[in-house]
């Protein structure tokens, strides 16, 4: 399984460290003030998340190319004004000529136009396209999509069915960082940068009333599901969070590298889970918060002592009525938009 890692302006200088830790592919975003002053070229924006121009993005991609890593550029807003298309296609041509391997896209208009412009372009379908079944995957494959980032709302069984239905297509799974319950393709809110509450869908809703660490969280993860998918060595493991700092990304890479090794050496799912938990604690200094992607149904360990555990809010700290204690959960943090 390949580790696919984000880069931003702040972390670009850590590219070699990321690669040495185990990242084999990198993805990033850019903006082009020549097309629009607004920072809405992809689903992440604000701060130093996007590179300031095609040229600065290209320079980083060339650095990655020198160490043999593939690079991908995200142009994955749900739509772009039609008047932008020609300029965007010009950008893609420049980036592709400079060695960028693939482009992460969500908008069908752009997919069709990019393929018309260059049928050899490698197109990765963003998770915001919300592919929930094998027939939808086949539809996008028919448009020329080469790889699909699957939504975090799927179960491992569904992932296997989808992947089995499109054998000539690659698949990416987001496996660390960030999860809003409304993530992926059926959220139509704006995520205005710079606002106190950019994501009103979660921050101004009931999720605000949940105990700290629940609802939306930065430290979500899809690692547990990987054991069920261990036969799919071709899956790409994506680290979400293009706005995150380099130290955290480095820990994510190290953790995922250990997970890939643990999959191979584990004989049972239980052994895999235990070893991953140990690795998580060792890497991040705290136990996993069990905020899972690709998770279905009840939380697995609510009945640790046989009694029904229910969280109680005590001045913002979560206490469980069972023997579990999640006192050290990290703070909920703001993000900028869904999709990676």
């Amino acid at each position: 399984m390949i580790i696919h890692c984000p880069l931003n302006q702040k972390t670009a200088s850590m590219l070699n460290m990321f690669a040495a830790a185990g990242a084999e592919e990198f993805y990033l975003g850019y903006r082009n003030a020549g097309i629009s002053k607004e920072d809405c070229f992809n689903r992440r924006f604000g701060g130093q998340i996007n590179f300031d121009s095609v040229e600065s993005a290209l320079a980083v991609c060339e650095n990655a190319g020198r160490i043999g890593a593939k690079t991908f550029v995200a142009i994955n807003e749900l739509f772009y004004p039609e008047s932008w298309h020609d300029a965007l296609i010009d950008d893609v041509k420049k980036l592709s000529a400079g060695g960028v391997f693939g482009f992460i896209v969500s908008d069908i208009n752009l997919i069709i136009k990019l393929k018309k412009a260059d049928s050899g372009l490698f197109i990765v379908l963003s998770s915001t396209a919300h592919v929930m079944n094998a027939k939808a995957a086949a539809f996008y494959r028919g448009l020329g999509v080469d790889r699909i980032v699957l939504p975090r709302q799927l179960s491992p069984g569904e992932i296997i069915k989808i992947a089995s239905g499109s054998k000539d297509c690659g698949f990416e799974l987001i496996v660390t960082n960030e999860e809003c319950p409304y993530l992926e393709g059926v959220c139509s809110y704006c995520h205005f940068p710079g606002e106190e509450s950019p994501n009103i869908c979660r921050q101004a809703t009931l999720y605000n009333h949940l105990p700290v660490g629940f609802g939306y969280s930065l430290d979500s993860c899809g690692v547990c599901a990987l054991y069920s998918l261990r036969d799919r060595k071709d899956f790409v493991l994506k680290i979400a969070g293009r706005g995150l700092g380099g130290d955290l990304i480095l820990k994510d890479i190290r953790f995922l590298k250990s997970v890939v090794e643990i999959i191979d050496e584990s004989e049972t799912e239980e052994e895999y889970g235990r070893k991953c938990a140990e690795s998580h604690k060792e890497t991040f200094g705290e136990r996993c918060g069990r905020k899972c992607y690709y998770s279905v149904g009840r939380m697995p360990d609510l009945n640790v002592t046989g009694e029904t555990a229910r969280p109680q809010m005590v001045q913002g700290v979560v206490k469980w009525t069972s023997s579990l204690s999640y006192d050290n959960l990290s703070e909920d943090v703001s993000g900028e938009g869904g999709g990676n």
Partner: protein
Amino acid sequence: MTTRMEHAFYISDPADLKYFHNSRFDRIYFGNEFCEFLLPTEEQMEKTLEFARRAGAGFTLVTPPCSERCIEKCERLIEALPGSAEVVFNDWGLLQAIRAAGKTPVHGRLLCKAKKDPRLGFKGEPFSDYFTENNLQSEYLELLSALGAGRMELDNVFQGLRLERDSEIKYSLYYPHVCCAATRKCYFANMAEGNFKFRTIDYCPVSCAGENIAIHNLGAEVFMQGNAQYYANDRMTVGSADGLIDRLVYMPVFPNHNFTRGEPLFLDWNRLFEVKEQRVLWGEEPDETLAGMVARAVKSAAGGIRNVLDIGCGEGRHAELFAGLDYYGIDIASKALERAGENKAGKFICGDILDLIGYDGFFDMAVDYGCLHSIAPWRRREYFEAAGRIVKTGGVLILCAWTGKESPLPAFYVEGQIPEWSVSAGDIEKAAEGLFDWVEKKTEKRTRLSMMFAAMKRK
């Protein structure tokens, strides 16, 4: 030449056919765009189809984003449709099945990628033309035509939408409800399951029960029903001036509920009253604090108290406190009332206090021990209006409810299914404004929550 505007009527539950008017609507939209668990059964669809036939209306089945399991469900429904029916698809995976079955595919509004954020409706706020853009562009429309989908569904978003003129595609506009977001990680289902960490739902207790929770008011009041968030826009802000829209799709209520699926969708109080442990937990003897308040109210009532309504009386636990008075009890659980009728003296009404009619100004006193906190916070005003109707001017209302910090989240779920919300003095004051005045209130610590006891006088 002007195009005739077609008027359609869209519901997710056959019970909402009561809002249909033959003379007003040409077509019925039926199904669910958001939640696969609320899709109609084949029997429900057949009944609604029959209704449409009798009304001389066309029929459109509406389908949601689909898991593998949902695709199979939808395919069965599509197979059962007559050849003239349309099917709205909100998942590209379903398009092939619609075409293979010979039905007419219609591009759903969830696939129309536009910003649907109510903040874009702030009056006087400038926003750039960017926000009227969307994915319904030339390449997309060509693709749709090639795939046999000649109609696209649109949300009536505040900021308007730029629509492609040079196309054969027809547009429908949904009003008044605009969907902002939907998810498989449904709030209601997760809360009912005790999952505060939001997991994908593969089984649904349908604990949403069709309730609308107000979640924020930025640009417009936004509600959550089931797994979707929405706002209402009662002005036609999309396409009305362009002449591009030839169908208006009216939703009498937000279509993300289905009470009549024939499954246990309602909060099942009857089931709870069959659980002996639950009855013991609630208590079988009258509450002493309540007894004291009732005694004081009876003693101090100027005009005397001759009758009383026990709201949410259950099995009549408190009936003996009202010996000598004309005692009435009302409860939604018929099982509880059967037991009350066997063991207690009084008249018992099976029903919802919010819907009680025929007792206007009838009661000298109403007593509520643990009913108010079972009513969702957004319906508390309705509760006090109902209480205000039945209690005489100068009459008494005694309330006992879980109390704590104000929150739209339930304080807990009885048996993991029935939500109970804590009620603060501020909540009561706001909901009862203009109807009742405080007479007495106190709080007592009970288990991990406290209980508020309050006596109020009808203005």
